[in-house]
C-alpha cells in the first residue's frame, strides 16, 4: 500500500503540488486524472523518487522513501516498475535486451534463465517473435507493451504508468488498459496510472484521484465520478460531447 500525506513540491517560485494526500491499495488500479498542467506527472515522479518533495511523506508498505539509506533505496527501486509516457525504451538495444536489462543489472541469473524470464513476460504482453527487433521497428502500441514487459520483468510490487495511452488509437489504448489491469490483478501489484483519458477511467479505474491546480480536488471510484456534483470534476469529465450526452441521458433516466 502506498500512503501519501501532505505532499508539497515546487520548482523555484512555482508551487506545483499543494498538500496532496492519497492512499493506493495493492491489487487495485488507481488513476490520477486532471488537465494538462494540473501536476499529475510531478506527482507521479515524486512517488517514484525522481522528484524530491519539499514537504510530506510517501510511505511504501510502511517504509518512508525519503528516509531510505542508499541500500534501502536500491532495494526499493527494484520493487518499482515504471511505464513512461513515451515508453523510454533504450533505442540502441533490441526488445530482448531492453527487457533483460534490469535482470542483467540486479540478478545473478544465467543467460538462459534470463532469456526464459524475458520470453515469459513478452508472451504475457502478447509480443512473441519480436525479441530481435529494435524499438524503432515497432508500432507505438508494441513499444508500450515492451515497456510494460520491462516494467514487470523484476516482479515489482508497485507499477506506475505515465499516460500509457498517449499517442495510441482507441482500440490499442483499450488493449493496453486491459493488460495493465490484468497484470495488476494477477500479481497483486499496487498500480498507479496518470491519465486524462476518460475511457481508461471507465474501463479500469478502481480508484480515481482528481488533481486540479496542484491540489487534490476529488477522490472516488469510476462509478462515483459520473454522479458527483464536484464542479471541477464535472467540467473535466464532461468537456467531451460524448460524455456530456451520456450524463444528460443518465440524469434524464434514459439508458
Amino acid at each position: 500500500m502506498i500512503i501519501v500525506k501532505n505532499l508539497k513540491k515546487g520548482f523555484g517560485e512555482v508551487e506545483v503540488l499543494k498538500d496532496i494526500s492519497a492512499t493506493f491499495h495493492p491489487g487495485k488500479t488507481s488513476l490520477i486524472i486532471g488537465q494538462s498542467g494540473s501536476g499529475k506527472t510531478v506527482f507521479l515522479k515524486s512517488l517514484i523518487g525522481l522528484h524530491t518533495p519539499e514537504e510530506g511523506i510517501i510511505s511504501f508498505d510502511g517504509r518512508i522513501n525519503t528516509k531510505f539509506s542508499e541500500k534501502e533505496k536500491q532495494q526499493w527501486r527494484q520493487e518499482i516498475g515504471m511505464v513512461f509516457q513515451g515508453s523510454a525504451l533504450f533505442d540502441s538495444q533490441t526488445v530482448e535486451d531492453n527487457v533483460m536489462f534490469p535482470l542483467k543489472m540486479f540478478t545473478n541469473q544465467s543467460h538462459a534463465e534470463m532469456l526464459a524470464r524475458v520470453n515469459f513476460v513478452l508472451n504475457r504482453v502478447n509480443l512473441e517473435n519480436s525479441n530481435k527487433k529494435l524499438p524503432a521497428e515497432l508500432s507505438g502500441g508494441m513499444q508500450k507493451r515492451v515497456a510494460i514487459a520491462r516494467a514487470i520483468v523484476m516482479n515489482p510490487k508497485y507499477l506506475f504508468c505515465d499516460e500509457p495511452n498517449s499517442g495510441l488509437d482507441p482500440q490499442t489504448a483499450i488493449v493496453i488498459d486491459k493488460l495493465i489491469q490484468e497484470i495488476t490483478d494477477e500479481y497483486k501489484i499496487t498500480t498507479v496510472i496518470n491519465t486524462h483519458d476518460m475511457n481508461s477511467v471507465m474501463e479500469i479505474g478502481e480508484k480515481i484521484v482528481f488533481l486540479k491546480d496542484g491540489k487534490k480536488a476529488w477522490e472516488g471510484s469510476s462509478e462515483e465520478i459520473f454522479k458527483t456534483d464536484n464542479e471541477a470534476v464535472v467540467d473535466f469529465v464532461y468537456s467531451s460531447n460524448l460524455f456530456k450526452k451520456v450524463r444528460e441521458a443518465y440524469l434524464s433516466g434514459k439508458k
Binding site: L50, R77, I80, Q85, G86, A88, P102, M105
Partner: protein
C-alpha cells in the same frame, strides 16, 4: 545560469560518475561498445587528415625555406616537431571534439528528452556512472593510440609529399626526423592527449545530460558542447605547454 554554477554542476557530475560500476559485466560490455563508437569509428578521419596535413606541413616548410644555407633536413625536423607537439595532439583532438563531442551530447541528450535516463534512475541505476564512465575510460585508453597513429601518418605524409613533389629528398627528410630526437616530446604529447580525451568525454556528456527541452535543445546543446570543448582544449593546451615545456 552563470559560469560558476556550470563549473560547480560539472564537478558534482564528475563525483557521481566516478563510482564503482554496479555490474562489472555490463560495464565492460559498455566500455567495448564505447571504444568502438568513440575510438575505432574515428580511425578513418584521423588517418585521412593526419596524412594530408602532414604532407601540407612538409610542403609549406619546404616552400618557405628557400635559403641555400638552410639544410633540407630541417624540413623533416620542423615537420616532426610541428606534428608531434601540436598537430597530432591538439589539432586532432579538436577534430575529435567536433566528431565525437557532438555524438556524445546528442546521444545522451536524446536519452534525457525521451526519458531513457529517468528510466535508468527509476531502476536504481546511477545513470551518470552507467553512461559517462565508459566514455571517459574509452577515450583515455584509446586516444593515445589514435594520436600516435596520427603522428606516424602525419610524418609519413610529409615524406610522401616530398618524394612526390621533388621539393626535398626522402633521405634528407628522414635525417631531419632523426635529428635531435627528444623522447620527452612524445610524453608531453601523450599527457596532452590524455587531458584532451578527458575533456572530449566529459564536457559533451555534461551538456547532454543536463539538456532541457526537445530536439532543438539537443541540437543547441551539441553545438555548445563542441564550442566549449574546443575552447577548453585550446586553453588547457596553452597552460600545459607553459607548464611542461618552459
Amino acid at each position: 545560469m552563470n559560469y560558476l554554477e556550470h563549473i560547480g554542476k560539472y564537478f558534482i557530475m564528475l563525483r557521481r560518475v566516478f563510482r564503482r560500476p554496479q555490474r562489472s559485466k555490463v560495464f565492460y560490455e559498455a566500455l567495448l561498445k564505447e571504444i568502438e563508437d568513440l575510438g575505432l569509428k574515428s580511425l578513418g578521419i584521423i588517418m585521412f587528415i593526419s596524412f594530408f596535413i602532414g604532407g601540407v606541413i612538409a610542403l609549406q616548410t619546404a616552400l618557405n625555406l628557400d635559403s641555400p644555407f638552410i639544410p633540407d633536413s630541417l624540413i623533416g625536423f620542423a615537420a616532426k616537431r610541428s606534428i608531434i607537439l601540436e598537430f597530432a595532439p591538439t589539432f586532432c583532438s579538436i577534430i575529435l571534439a567536433g566528431k565525437v563531442g557532438s555524438y556524445i551530447t546528442s546521444s545522451i541528450g536524446t536519452m534525457r528528452v525521451t526519458e531513457q535516463i529517468d528510466a535508468l534512475e527509476v531502476m536504481g541505476i546511477n545513470s551518470l556512472n552507467h553512461l559517462v564512465l565508459p566514455k571517459i575510460l574509452a577515450t583515455i585508453f584509446f586516444y593515445p593510440f589514435l594520436i600516435s597513429l596520427g603522428m606516424f601518418l602525419g610524418i609519413f605524409g610529409g615524406w610522401v609529399s616530398g618524394v612526390l613533389s621533388g621539393l626535398f629528398s626522402g633521405a634528407d627528410y628522414i635525417e631531419g626526423i632523426q635529428t635531435d630526437f627528444n623522447s620527452f616530446l612524445l610524453i608531453y604529447a601523450i599527457i596532452k592527449t590524455l587531458i584532451f580525451a578527458f575533456l572530449i568525454a566529459t564536457v559533451p556528456s555534461y551538456h547532454g545530460y543536463y539538456v532541457k527541452g526537445g530536439s532543438i535543445a539537443v541540437g543547441k546543446a551539441s553545438t555548445q558542447a563542441v564550442v566549449w570543448t574546443t575552447i577548453l582544449i585550446v586553453i588547457s593546451n596553452y597552460f600545459l605547454t607553459q607548464m611542461l615545456l618552459t
